[in-house]
Structures are given as structure tokens and as C-alpha cells.
């Protein structure tokens, strides 16, 4: 997985962009732990999704594309890459 860390303009959160080994599919989103809000917008020209894991991060991307973006919350920003990669590994796990 290819990782790009960007500092947030507001001075708090961290933006982590990850290029996954394959395109995101809808079932991958089910494996993100702690997700309390999930939005998938199929009506847009590209199906945009956003997941929110309270107190940890939000995750957005396009179904069918491999690039996802994490916005890691201020309180856990020191573990931003670790949290993002752990979530990506779970997403990429094969179905049991």
C-alpha cells in the first residue's frame, strides 16, 4: 500500500491518502470497525462513499477506485498512519 501523509490546513487533523492494492468494493466497507455512519452516494457520476468512526477518523473514496482518504482526528493524530493502515488491511481482507 502506498501512503501519503498531508497536514490539515486547520492545524489539527491529519490527512492520510492510501492507494490500496485493488479498487474498493462495497463489501469492503462492512469491514471497517467502529463505523457509526456510512454514506454511499450512487447517484453521483462516481459513487462516492464516506464512513465515520467517531473519535478516530473518517474515510472517503470512490467505489471502484483504489485511492482512499482518511481524516484522522486531532486526539489520535500521532497514530494516524497506524490507524489508517490497520483499517485498510481489514478492508482488503478476503471474505471468509
Amino acid at each position: 500500500m502506498e501512503v501519503l501523509v498531508q497536514k490539515d490546513c486547520l492545524g489539527g487533523e491529519r490527512k492520510i491518502e492510501v492507494r490500496l492494492p485493488r479498487a474498493v468494493e462495497l463489501p469492503d466497507l462492512d469491514r471497517v470497525e467502529g463505523c457509526e455512519q456510512r454514506t454511499v452516494l450512487h447517484s453521483l457520476p462516481r459513487p462516492f462513499f464516506r464512513l465515520d468512526v467517531p473519535g478516530s477518523f473518517s474515510l472517503s473514496g470512490i467505489i471502484g477506485e483504489p485511492r482512499v482518504r482518511f481524516t484522522v482526528r486531532l486526539a489520535v493524530r500521532e497514530r494516524a498512519v497506524e490507524l489508517a493502515l490497520a483499517a485498510c488491511e481489514r478492508m482488503m481482507e478476503p471474505d471468509p
Binding site: L4, R38, T39, L41, H42, F48, S58, S60, E65, R69
Partner: protein, 370 residues
């Protein structure tokens, strides 16, 4: 992580692309030339002629003094503010200043005062006159806001400040190349970059120094002449141009400055941008310049991401390096989504923007869609 997708660009307030072809050509030609002003041979004379022609062309954009080449507007503003002597007792700051003004002003250690302003961030001249502290020595103001495009009444403010014994420094990063020429009254110093409205290359900028204004140079070194003296020359531009000049950047700056004498109507462009945004149902914070901010109805960084990935539309979220402006507007907690256009923006680009913003609006209206 690069993308092969072709995007429609609405971030000209950050940097203008595409740049003038004549500027690119001038930079390429200058890249093969020698260092100007070093030696007396013919090759350096050719290079020096490039610099002096560029100086004249940039002066035509801003005829308030001697053009001194810098690495950009930030360098020029640091030179202006940190080099001001004697150190100001109090600096009056515009209500919409960029960090390129705010941070060196804070670093000065001087007392600060923010000029009274309207809710939209325009300086309130009447209140400014009434509340003016007697110890203000220096005013630093951004001519145009990089957040909302609002223009400040600089000439009137200069009259007010000069009548009270203060001098004025103007950050013209957002107006140089759009407001042509920069007719700013009796300003002490004007700073701007080559790569925004002027659409030259990054890495070049100008500090325009009024006759009689003398700063402490930020850097000292060789200037190609008067080498036996202990210090750099007293007079601009050499006083502020120590070191090897960025000849390609300066050549491009001059070519771009010439191209900016095309009579482009930035106010009409601003009106077209506002119309495109309003057609999508948003109420932009706007001014005379073609840059506006909106509340996208969701976190601005999510909106930026969505517009980029779903609609191939490039915008800019956040504080835009101008926390002071966002404090003035009351948007400091989350920032805004900024949309800015330039000379190369077409009506078709604006239609693309409207369609994308309509899509964004639909998303913000139905956040739980699945």
C-alpha cells in the same frame, strides 16, 4: 499520487495555470544565459538587459517606486515588515491579511492593532479614523482578499495613515496582474508574486520601494559591484537583491507583466463566477476579485475531496493561510471552500463548476443517502 484525469481548475488564487506561454518561452531562453551583473563582458550584458527589461515591465504594473526582485510575495513582505526601521511601536494590520503579513508582524514584537472592518472584512475608514491609536507607525494591509476577493480602500487608507504620521505597506499578491496598474497612492512598499494574477512562474516576486524608503536588508552578499565596501549599497534595487538573481523567473515575470496589459476585466470575471456559484444555489462571500468562498454544507475538506474525485473540479478548502480573514468573517472554526478563476477560465469551465456544485448541494441535502 498523481492522477491522469483532466481536472477543471478553480484555484487561481493559489497559483494561475496555465501560465502565459510567452512567460514560459522567456524562462526557457533565460535558462541558457549567464549570471547578470557579474563581470563586464558581453554575455552578462545580454542577461542584464533581460533583468532591466523585466524590471521596467513589472514597474508598469506597479509604478509606485523601484522594483526589487524577490523570491515571491512572502519574501517581499518579510523584507518589508522585518526590515522596517526604526522598528514600529505599533503595526496596524488589515482585517483580511494573509500569514505572509501576520506572521512577520507578530515576529516584530511590535504592538498590533487590527483595523476596524465591516462584517465582510472591508476596512471601515470612519471607525479607523476615530479609533486610531497615536502610536501606530506602520500599516500593513492586503489589497485584495485571497478568501473572498474583497478589495480594500487602500488609497483612502494611505491618505488617512500619512496624515497621522504612519506609512503603509501593501500586500498586492491577489491584485497584481488583475488591477492594472496598481494605483495605490503614496504607499511606502508594495509586495506581490509573479505566479498568481500575473501568471508568471513561482520563485519570483517584487517589492516596489518608494523613493526615500530605506529598509534593513534581510540578506547581505554580493551584488556584482561595489565589492570593496563593507556593506551592501544604500540604494534599491541592489540593497535588497544580494546573491545570484533568478534569471528565468525574472524573465518570465517581465513577459507575464507585459501580457497582463491586455485590458482583462477582472470585475466581469468576478461577476461571472458569482453567477455560476449562485446558479447552484450557494450564497458566496464575494468581492471585486474573481475569488469567492462558500459554506458547502459539509466539512469544506470533504467537499473539496468530493468535487475533486467525483467531478474532477479542483477547489481549495480550509483557512487559505489567512486565519485573520476567517476570524473577521467568523469562519475560523472550519474554514470555507474557496473557488477562484483567472484569465484562462472559460464559460464552459464555469458551467462545469455549476454542475459540480449542484451535485455537491444534492449530497449536502441528503447526507445519509445509501
Amino acid at each position: 499520487m498523481s492522477t491522469a484525469r483532466v481536472s477543471t481548475y478553480f484555484d487561481h488564487a493559489a497559483t494561475s495555470v496555465p501560465r502565459w506561454p510567452t512567460a514560459i518561452e522567456a524562462a526557457v531562453e533565460a535558462a541558457s544565459q549567464v549570471t547578470p551583473g557579474r563581470g563586464m563582458h558581453g554575455m552578462q550584458q545580454v542577461a542584464m538587459a533581460v533583468v532591466e527589461r523585466a524590471r521596467a515591465d513589472v514597474h508598469a504594473l506597479c509604478p509606485t517606486g523601484t522594483v526589487c526582485f524577490m523570491s515571491g510575495a512572502t519574501h517581499a513582505l518579510n523584507q518589508a515588515i522585518l526590515g522596517w526601521r526604526p522598528a514600529p511601536r505599533r503595526i496596524a494590520l488589515g482585517p483580511m491579511v494573509h500569514n505572509a503579513v501576520r506572521r512577520p508582524a507578530l515576529a516584530c514584537g511590535s504592538l498590533l492593532w487590527t483595523l476596524p472592518a465591516t462584517a465582510q472584512g472591508r476596512v471601515d475608514l470612519e471607525r479607523t479614523a476615530g479609533e486610531w491609536p497615536e502610536d501606530v507607525d506602520l500599516v500593513v494591509i492586503s489589497h485584495g482578499s485571497n478568501v473572498t476577493g474583497i478589495l480594500q480602500p487602500v488609497a483612502a487608507l494611505v491618505d488617512l495613515a500619512r496624515a497621522r504620521g504612519a506609512e503603509v505597506i501593501v500586500d498586492a499578491a491577489q491584485t497584481a496582474g488583475y488591477v492594472v496598474p496598481l494605483d495605490l497612492g503614496d504607499v511606502a512598499l508594495v509586495a506581490f508574486s509573479a505566479h498568481k494574477g500575473v501568471a508568471g512562474l513561482p520563485g519570483a516576486g517584487a517589492l516596489v520601494v518608494r523613493e526615500g524608503v530605506r529598509l534593513e536588508p534581510l540578506i547581505r552578499g554580493g551584488v556584482g559591484h561595489d565589492s570593496s565596501a563593507a556593506d551592501v549599497p544604500d540604494e534599491p534595487p541592489a540593497r535588497y537583491e544580494s546573491g545570484t538573481p533568478n534569471l528565468p523567473g525574472i524573465a518570465a515575470f517581465g513577459a507575464a507583466a507585459r501580457a497582463c496589459q491586455d485590458g482583462w476585466d477582472f470585475r466581469a470575471a468576478s461577476a461571472a463566477l458569482v453567477s455560476a456559484v449562485e446558479a447552484a444555489g450557494f450564497a458566496p462571500l464575494s468581492g471585486a476579485l474573481p475569488v469567492v468562498s462558500i459554506d458547502p454544507g459539509m466539512a469544506p475538506d470533504v467537499a473539496e475531496d468530493l468535487l475533486d474525485r467525483v467531478f474532477d473540479v479542483v477547489t481549495r478548502s480550509g483557512l487559505h493561510c489567512s486565519p485573520s480573514a476567517h476570524e473577521t468573517l467568523g469562519t475560523e472554526s472550519s474554514g470555507t471552500l474557496r473557488l477562484s478563476i483567472g484569465r484562462s477560465t472559460t464559460p464552459a469551465d464555469l458551467e462545469t463548476l455549476t454542475r459540480a456544485l449542484i451535485g455537491l448541494r444534492e449530497v449536502s441535502s441528503h447526507p445519509g443517502a445509501d
